[in-house]
Amino acid sequence: MVRIGAFLIGLFFSGWLLVSFLMGAVAYVSEPPVPTAEKEFHLHPKHVSYSFDGPLGHYDKAQLQRGFQVFSEVCSACHSLKFVSFRDLADLGYNEAEIKAIAKNWKIKTPDIDPKTGEMATREPVPSDKFPKPFANNVAAAAANNNAIPPDLSLMTKARHSGTAYVYSLLTGYQQQPAELLQKFPDVKTPAGLHYNPYFANLNLAMAPPLTAEGQVTYGEGQPKPTVDQMAKDVAAFLTWTAEPKMESRKSAGLAVLLFLLVATTLAYMSYRNIWAETKH
């Protein structure tokens, strides 16, 4: 009985799947899927190499500081960094006094209540505060940015495939919409207020090119020239750190753990062989 029932159920599912396959195949041949601009013109992130690549990689603190400079002078006007605290900047090599000064002079103030009146007010951030958000809420953010909400950047490089390279590619990838694209897909002209960028999933991005000119940010003495490419690379490195601040301790702990496990496993193997030495199996 079980096998007869199973046979019938199997016949039903398998049969209908094969029928669906045939109908789908006919449809696929008679009406092939329409190509879309996103499919044909979207590009994977460019290849870019960093000091923190690979199992032994470390952050380059000077680069993170430059990236932080780009973030604070350019990105922070619209983008929040809500999971990162000022105190975390110690990882970048700033000392306590410097962090205090950075927090105190931060352009955006931390919302708080007035200790005397209880009214909503703002105060200067302190190191234990998270980076304050540029907009009070999503509605304010959308209203100020042509209905597009600038996403939080704390986790951006983990929230996209090949995130570091993605941020770098996006920042350096703005261009004119290719003529070839308009020829093939005349309907998908980049709408007014959006900007063409082949590294963005649907090709048209609300954010205007943020890094436009060499020297937009002034780097300190002895640092590389602040070209657009360099600034993009540095801020992508900074955002890799904000997303994965514990990367260095993770990798160094990993090496120690692996070393230990290799020795322990070798011993376990020898012990296993030793116990079974007299027993054929």
């Binding site: 105190r87 230990f260 322990a264 011993l267 376990a268 116990i275 007299e278 054929k280």
Partner: protein
């Protein structure tokens, strides 16, 4: 049939040089596993220690400008009540007048305040008996028999220097580390 004999017991316990070396390998393998297990437990224990954000909140800044002599404010330091009291000259005199040697926890007011800022008494608002919050910092609260603080839980009386004078508490109210950042502001912690 010799190949079929179950020889585990021999391999493990019989004597002879080769067998002792084998014993050593088994012991080494088990020891390594044991060490690994213990080391793996450490982060599981350590995660219960205060996290970085809790430690970052470990200092408090207090603005003294609004506190008139005779007044006190309650604020928090490390999530516990902190009393900041502006002593009047009479209160200072009263504290200095006490016979230090006879106190349960002998300390002078000078030892409990910053040199030159003797009028600012900064103490934890935590009774040293069982951790209740003493009264006396708020306007109109019972200040106890010695004009300082009074803990209603079990009746400990503290004087105007926050020293224990009567009741079950064993020690004076704790004085946290205080530094003056300006004439009218202090950093606690």
């Amino acid at each position: 049939m010799a190949t079929l004999e179950n020889t585990a017991d021999q391999a493990i316990s019989a004597d002879g040089g080769g067998v002792r070396r084998r014993d050593f390998i088994n012991i080494a393998a088990v020891s390594f596993a044991g060490v690994g297990g213990v080391v793996a437990v450490l982060p599981l224990v350590n995660q219960m220690n205060p996290s970085a954000d809790v430690l970052a909140m470990a200092s408090t800044e207090v603005d003294l400008s609004g506190i008139k002599p005779g007044q006190a404010i309650k604020t928090t330091y490390r999530s516990q009540p902190l009393f900041v009291r502006h002593l009047t000259p009479e209160e200072i005199a009263k504290a200095d007048a006490a016979d230090v040697a006879s106190l349960r926890d002998p300390q002078t007011l000078d030892q409990r305040t910053i040199a030159g800022k003797k009028e600012w008494l900064v103490t934890m608002g935590v009774c040293t008996h069982l951790g209740c919050v003493p009264l006396g910092a708020g306007e109109g609260e019972n200040k106890g028999e010695f004009g300082g603080y009074f803990c209603p839980c079990h009746g400990s009386h503290y004087d105007t220097a926050g020293r224990i004078r009567k009741g079950p508490a064993p020690k004076n109210l704790e004085v946290p580390p205080v530094t003056f950042t300006s004439d009218t502001a202090i950093l606690v912690g």
